[in-house]
């Protein structure tokens, strides 16, 4: 891990390493996560799930469960009063399976009872008669018109074609490969949990929930409950990580249904095992990619075919697919392209949002290709990337001009300038070897390799979506309070928002009000968007309040408000000597303003995949140094050097946290993290067998923040959450290739892929 130089400043304004307000509570265990909620007279809710990936439900008999003492309710599809289905993009996922179950773990019924153990017995007592069907688990097979369609909406969720420039262009050299990306899980530590309180009279409900987007949840829940949105109030519970897995509905509707049915508070929480069935995963993908280039390494054309396995329901598959195919070229200039992308429905678990959102898959392919191209042209990994590096004003294969700051060349050069780690010391600790505490390797078994990855990632939502954010700022008696519906999932908006208010308003005391649906939407905590979007909303609201403050002070002291500014914690007259502290100036008054931040408009893609579909872009380079035990196929990532295009660093400590965390997650995909499927069945739904990197697996991170403020961004800062996890994966795999000479076309790389 890298060390962070604490930027000691007097005030926790923008640019300071302000500490998380919830940090101590989280570290000492007193922070209240959603799963810690409790209420008098509450009942527990639990979910009955399908053991089969694909089956017809012949009958469901809930009577034996209802006969168990302590069981208050058993609900199935026929108990859903409103819309029977939900979904982020297409409402094709049933609240409860009724006719068919389409993936292992699909909810069939829920129960409410006085104790979790009673719930377990009730679930065991429900008799579901299934006619087990043969699951369709191969996307290539599923997308054929001749294959059985497993859902009324068909098996092809979306196909998008991209034709850009001259589809017949050719170069001197071609390189191609078939790449496979395994199913990664977000593996957040705070499990799905919620508590629902029914309104007396049963016409409304209040749901405390760990989610990424309160308002989107509310819309989907209200439709299923057949209640007006105003009668469904959501309050953000303590969220222990998200990474995309809390974008979709999981237990929200079930919990509310049980509360409304029983008239009592309902607590639901998933176990770790259930969590693997309760949320979407990263799309497994197969990507064919072919690069045409001139002898000097300049890319002429890229062809690609990408197939994303969407699993049983749509979730965000259409958007993930578009992200994948529109990032085919990576952060490189490319005038000609032909790309086809397919998101396909299968009887595998539904896949949706995860950090990197489709770009992770594309990046593994394009970066692997860049290394093939380098080899074919006799160039180094660095030179091939510099030769093709994208600049501001270049075009994507969608025809969209990259207007964002695009310091790709600088990312590469500054990463390249980071010193390489020392070679392994003679007295190196065996724990640092590949194999770690297993003591499998001796020094002479270990070969070092170096690899590169560079990426481009879109920020915010795309294809015409107006994912605005709302915030209210209230200033009174020297204290600013901020209200927004932004989900704090660990990313640090609760740290940043007060920093913004302190900088703009000259206050030190900032109070954060409850995040709930009693204010307008903040959009989702995803797509690297909250610093830009909710940050923009908080900044906007604070600036409006500051205008009101200047008006007030100007009137009180007979100064033209235009002459006033905030300096530290005072309002000062810029052309005079007048000075008053913000605390004094706001005694006895209350100034409150609400602001909505909208990003620029975007467009849909046309039938050739052309259109300005994205808002903005961020870039990053990664260089991985790995030690590989070639004979056993075990890997230790020694160092990740990275230079990331961040726009502006608003909190150095938070920023390095995002980079290190993302790198660990990308490392996971490179060498260990995979949900293993066997004909539609999940084989490893536990942390015993779904392996996350430990401290002994995490590399030393040496990071450079490239600060070229983004003109479009309200605070000059780009989103930094996703880029760290994207190109680090191909960089690590490239380093393993360099050490082993193996082609390694699949992630995660398994020991047997290296040594057998």
């Amino acid at each position: 891990m890298s060390t962070v130089k604490q930027d000691v400043r007097a005030r926790d304004i923008l640019g300071a390493s302000a500490l998380r307000p919830d940090g101590v509570a989280k570290v000492t265990g007193s922070f209240s996560f959603s799963s810690d909620m409790w209420a008098e007279n509450m009942l527990w809710g639990a979910t009955l799930r399908s053991p089969h990936p694909y089956a017809r439900i012949i009958s469901i008999d809930t009577t034996p469960a209802l006969l168990i003492s302590g069981v208050s309710a058993v609900l199935t599809a026929k108990d859903v009063p409103g819309k029977a289905t939900y979904g982020l993009i297409s409402a094709d996922q049933p609240v409860f399976a009724s006719e068919f179950v389409r993936y292992m773990g699909e909810p069939v019924a829920v129960v409410a009872a006085d104790h979790p153990e009673t719930c377990r017995r009730a679930l065991a007592a429900i008799i579901v008669n299934y006619e087990v069907l043969t699951p369709i688990v191969d996307p290539e097979l599923a997308m054929l018109a001749t294959t059985e369609q497993i859902h009324p909406d068909g098996n092809l969720i979306r196909h998008q074609h991209i034709k850009h420039g001259d589809p017949h262009a050719t170069g001197d050299i071609t390189v191609e490969g078939n790449y496979t990306i395994g199913m990664q899980d977000q593996a957040f530590l705070g499990l799905e949990a919620a508590m629902a309180f029914p309104d007396s009279g049963g016409n409304g409900v209040e749901l405390h929930i760990a989610t990424q987007w309160l308002h989107e949840d509310r819309g989907q829940i209200a439709a299923c409950l057949a209640l007006p949105e105003d009668n469904v109030r959501l309050v953000l519970g303590g969220v222990g990580g998200a990474f995309g897995a809390r974008e979709d509905i999981s237990l929200q509707v079930h919990c509310c249904l049980l509360a409304l049915r029983t008239g009592k508070p309902i607590k639901m929480q998933y176990s770790r095992e259930e969590s693997f069935f309760g949320h979407v995963h990263r799309h497994p993908a197969k990507i064919w990619m072919k690069h045409h280039a001139n002898k000097d390494g300049k890319i002429v054309k890229i062809e690609s075919r990408m197939v994303f396995d969407g699993g049983a329901y749509t979730s965000t598959s259409p958007a993930v697919l578009i992200n994948g195919i529109t990032h085919t070229q990576g952060p490189y200039q490319c005038d000609n392209a032909v790309v086809d992308g397919y998101a396909v429905r299968t009887n595998n678990p539904p896949c949706g949002a995860m950090r990197g959102f489709g770009v992770v898959q594309a990046c593994f392919a394009h970066e692997s290709q860049m290394d093939l191209l380098a080899e074919a042209c006799g160039l180094s990994a660095v030179d091939i990337r510099l030769k093709n590096a994208m600049r501001t004003g270049d075009k994507l294969v969608t025809g969209q001009i990259v207007e964002s700051v695009a310091p790709v060349e600088r990312c590469i050069r500054e990463t390249d300038a980071i010193p390489m780690p020392d070679s392994m010391a003679n007295d190196a600790d065996v724990l640092e070897f590949p194999g770690g505490s297993g003591r499998t390797a001796d020094r002479h078994n270990i070969v070092r390799g170096v690899g590169w990855g560079v990426s481009i990632k879109n920020l915010m939502y795309s294809e015409g979506f107006d994912d605005y954010a709302t915030a209210r700022c209230t200033l009174s008696n020297g204290v600013a309070s901020l209200k927004f519906a932004t989900s704090e999932v660990g990313q640090g908006f609760v740290t940043l928002a007060p920093q913004i208010a302190r900088s703009v308003l000259g206050v030190d005391d900032v109070v954060l009000e409850t995040s709930d649906t009693q204010i307008g939407s903040a959009g989702s905590t995803s797509a690297s968007r909250q610093t830009w979007m909710s940050g923009g909303a908080v900044d906007g609201a604070c600036r409006l309040v500051r205008e009101r403050l200047f008006e007030h002070v100007g009137k009180q002291h007979n100064i033209d408000p235009i002459r006033l500014m905030v300096e530290n914690t005072d309002v000062i007259d810029t052309v005079g000597t007048f000075r008053i502290s913000v605390a004094d100036a706001t005694q006895g008054i209350t100034l409150s303003e609400t602001f909505e931040h909208h990003h620029r408009k975007t467009e849909d893609l046309d039938e050739n995949g052309q259109g300005n579909c994205h808002v903005a872009f961020a870039f990053v380079a990664h260089r991985a140094v790995v030690d590989v035990d070639i004979e056993l196929g075990l890997v230790k990532v020694v160092q990740i050097a990275t230079a990331q295009d961040v726009g502006r660093v608003l909190n150095p400590l938070s920023a390095i946290g995002q980079l290190e965390g993302g790198i660990a997650q990308g490392l996971g995909l490179a060498v260990m993290e995979e949900i293993i499927m066997d004909n539609g069945k999940v084989k490893n739904p536990s942390f015993t067998d779904y392996l996350l990197p430990t401290a002994l697996d995490a590399p030393r991170v040496v990071a450079v923040m490239i600060e070229e403020p983004e003109p479009q961004a309200p605070l000059g800062a780009k989103g930094i959450g996703e880029p760290p996890c994207i190109s680090v994966t191909p960089a690590i795999v490239a380093a393993i290739r360099a050490a082993t000479g193996k082609a390694l076309l699949r992630v995660p790389v398994r020991p047997q892929d290296i040594c057998l």
Binding site: G436, G438, L632, L634, K683
Partner: protein, 282 residues
């Protein structure tokens, strides 16, 4: 469910007599997972953690060491136990996290008898003796007779595993374990090699590559015919490699979601080759 918390072996055996169906629990690092997953629903439990007699170890006059079944792995990792049985210290270090090693015990490994139990290959390589005690009798059983299959052992329902005795060998010993991350990982394949110079014996035992821990008797015999294990000369690379190949042949691995049979067989061969090379160059 009842939970008895005896303070002595006698009290524990009394509790076991009173509730013959009781599940014995030491650190609980394995059994509590089973219970939490609802795979196991014991009516009665006997928690042995406060039985101090089980948490001690003794160096015996006959150059052996008896380790109580309640000694946590943490204690084997360092200090005198590490000096006495280095392979056990290395195996102990591979068990879970520091929290797990503070709770987990050899008694648990023996009680569960998973082929992936990290301590078991060491006990097999050292020809450990397992101590079992019931209300009216005690007996000693070779580890080779104790572990009879996947998660099956020869303990009678009225017996408590009180400890193991291992010889203090004169020679190099070591342990190596392959997992898919660098710590806190369940074994994909493991091996323990131990040399006893006075008897010119080399022993190698494999974990997670068969229904029980596997002692590679043929490879051991073959090796002792090739080299004088009591001499401190570096082993010929070709001999070490052939030893690895022979060890791999004696493994009986399966395919599962953690790895493939092919990789496991390959891995134990490599581990055997490396361990004997380490032994001969130490």
């Amino acid at each position: 469910m009842t939970v008895a918390i005896p303070l002595s072996i006698r009290e524990a055996l009394d509790a076991l007599s009173n509730t013959p169906d009781a599940r014995l629990i030491q650190g609980g690092t394995d059994m509590m997972v089973e219970i939490n997953f609802n795979h196991l629903k014991p009516h009665n439990m006997i928690a042995l953690r406060r039985v101090q007699e089980l948490r001690t170890w003794t160096k015996n006059a006959d150059n052996t060491l008896t380790i109580g079944s309640g000694v946590p792995y943490q204690e084997m990792e360092t200090g005198e136990l590490k000096q006495l049985v280095p392979a056990l210290a290395e195996a102990a270090r591979t068990v879970g996290s520091p929290q797990i090693r503070a709770a987990g015990t050899l008694g648990g490994n023996l009680g569960t008898c998973s082929p992936a139990g990290d301590g078991l290959p060491v006990l097999f390589a050292l020809d450990a003796i397992v101590h079992l005690q019931s209300a009216d009798a005690s007996r000693k059983l070779s580890i080779h007779d104790f572990m009879v299959g996947v998660k099956r052992n020869a303990r009678n329902a009225n017996e408590i595993i009180t400890g193991v005795t291992v010889p203090l060998l004169d020679g190099w010993q070591g342990y190596a374990k392959v997992g898919v991350r660098n710590a806190m990982v369940i074994s994909v394949a493991s091996a323990c090699l131990a040399i006893d110079k006075p008897t010119r014996s080399v022993r190698i035992a494999l974990g997670a590559v068969g229904p029980t821990i596997i002692r590679c008797r043929d490879a051991e015999v073959w090796l002792s015919e090739q080299i004088d294990i009591s001499a401190s000369t570096a082993i010929d690379a070709a001999v070490a490699k052939e030893f690895g190949r022979r060890v791999a042949l004696e493994s009986k691995p399966i395919d599962d979601h953690r790895s493939t049979a092919e990789y496991r067989r390959h891995a134990v061969g490599v581990l055997a080759q490396r361990l004997i090379t380490r032994a001969s160059s130490s």
